[in-house]
Amino acid sequence: MKCQLSKKLRNNLIRICVVLAAFVVVFATDKAIGLAEAVGGKYGWLLPFFLYLGVYLAIAYDVLWKAVRNILGGELFDENLLMCIASLGAFGLAIFRSVKGMPAEGFEEACAVILFYQIGEFFQSYAVGKSRSGISELMDIRPDSANVIRDGEAISVSPEEVAIGELILINPGEKVPLDGRIEEGASSFDLRALTGESLPKDMGAGDMAISGSVNLTSSVKVRVEKEFHDSTASKILELVENAADKKAVAENFITRFARFYTPAVVAVALLLAIIPSVVTGDWISWIYRALSFLVVSCPCALVISVPLSFFAGIGAASRYGILVKGSAYLERLNKANIFVFDKTGTLTKGAFAVTKVVPEERWDELLHLAAMAEQGSSHPIARSICELAGECQSDCALVNEAGMGVIATSQGHEILVGNFKLMQAHGIVCYPAEDVGTAVYVAKDGEYRGYILVEDLPKDEAKEVVAALNASGKTVMLTGDNEAVARKIATELGVSAYKASLLPADKVDEVEALLAAKGKRDALCYVGDGINDAPVLMRSDIGVAMGGLGSDAAIEASDIVLMKDDLRALPLAKRIAKRTYAVVMQNIVFALAVKLVILLLSAFGITNMWMAVFGDVGVAFLAILNAMRVNTKRGYEAKSPKPKIAK
């Protein structure tokens, strides 16, 4: 394991190790031969006292100093002060006992309190630092420089200095500094830092190079289309950096709780030291119990482990190309049980494909005619037909009939390509197709030739994802398409409900209605592609935008961005949210329970200060280890059997 400690941490570690060794030596000799008895006499206790005092000062000087400083600054309930009172008090008691001629003991406890407190603090800093560097590693997408081509020469400049329209050179191994279109060359790009996708993507001239991805194989020249502060890498970094503003309920709860927990325990400790002592007259044991109380009063374990868990959860998600804008959304996603989907581009591919060719005579002739007429169009339906037909001549004169289709004239022939209305308008005899989808009718020289069915197909993973989400709630599909298309897709995917023929504004109303109808414990998650549905994304409890790469509007309006256009990231994000929340709850319950038990036991004098040290440091240790479990290397992928490879 690679671990780089900051200088401050490393020095601290050395100090802790040295002091710990010294402590063990003193402690072992004291227990083995009894230092006080070895010297003997009335002042024999001074030997162990000074040895332990040396150890104590070596490890506690900074805590003591901080405590003094905080008292001067008016901070009373400070963990440093509490630790000082507890340890100095324990020292005081031990001295008192020794002077009174009782067996010299208790010095080791005073040392141990501070020593283990310091070990705990060190471990916290280490864990937090490690988890921070884990995130910044993942978010290592900030480009350092750009090779801009000016006057035929490539010069290295800061990405901020490159203007839109300039040409930049990206060598293999370099990060793409700015978004732009590839003009020259082709290469493979590693998008892992952005999408979590480990397979490199091959791109060539005309494709969009996205900042933050890494060029792998060969040099390409890219025409810059966005300034640095608008580029994908900057947007993502901004998002991650601002993620802290939206804190989870559990996180806020625990910091508020900590604010009154410590004063309350201190107050009880004070009562415990005074009242029973006055009644029984046994000051030593009751003050001792009160001091143990103080050791447990530190809420560090909770205060650190909760944000650490959420941070780890956000980190785990970002490794899969899921950007979460704050711990609040991770918490809400765990509760999410109503999933509302936009249809086009979210559940479906958002790209049309020819699914059926129904000719009167020959299907290749039909396809050819349609492709000839649609050649010049950039409409997605036209593109899907041309894609299937392949190359064909385009020497025809085209006339657009708005809302109906196209009339092409080629070598004296008139070709009509369009919807049923176009056919009727031109008096062509044919029947409307019964299939669900968009039918493109074709006629040549007034004679009907057949129709081509074009559909927007569901994504391959959509069915499995909908099934997984149905298991924990319900799924609703909203679409602007007509009833027949909506019903077909809804049945095929198995969504629990759907609404068709909605205008963008209607979607907001639908979501409002669902929000009004939901119970208190339900959470509504809207999933869209970020195009046209920004208002809905903002209105829902959790707005999830899909395929965030390249869509700024989606990144801004949503709470969670799935960088990769893959629906499976949704149940995956939910699993991460669930695990994170479970760990947070475990930590809160476990830490509070252990502390409470130790408080009770020490109030009755059943435990000693060693137990109290465990209640503070041990619990913090375990809670932090538990929190770090959230961001483990694996364990969030869907549990599906691995494909068998034939030998």
């Binding site: 401050k8 400083r69 600054g73 901070e75 963990e79 800093s125 937090v128 988890s131 921070r132 995130i135 950096e241 601002n242 993620a243 802290a244 503003d245 804190k247 910091t255 900590a258 604010r259 809420p299 560090c300 205060v303 650190i304 944000p307 650490l308 959420f310 941070f311």
Partner: protein, 72 residues
Amino acid sequence: MKKVFKMQDLDCAMCAEKMRARIAKLDGVQFVSVDFMSQRMTIEAEEKDFDALMDEIKRICKKIEPDCKIVC
């Protein structure tokens, strides 16, 4: 206006919460968040008050955690 500051060596979670609570009480601060994990502070306030507020905020942070530096 909203500004984000990086905080170097913000080492304790309770300190971050204390800073947040104190800064939130200042007149003119519309929103404040001090995040221990990402070591960032977000302040939202009127532009004209910002400089004066920042002096006060720096003083508060210094008092709570002397090692901690605010970097713009």
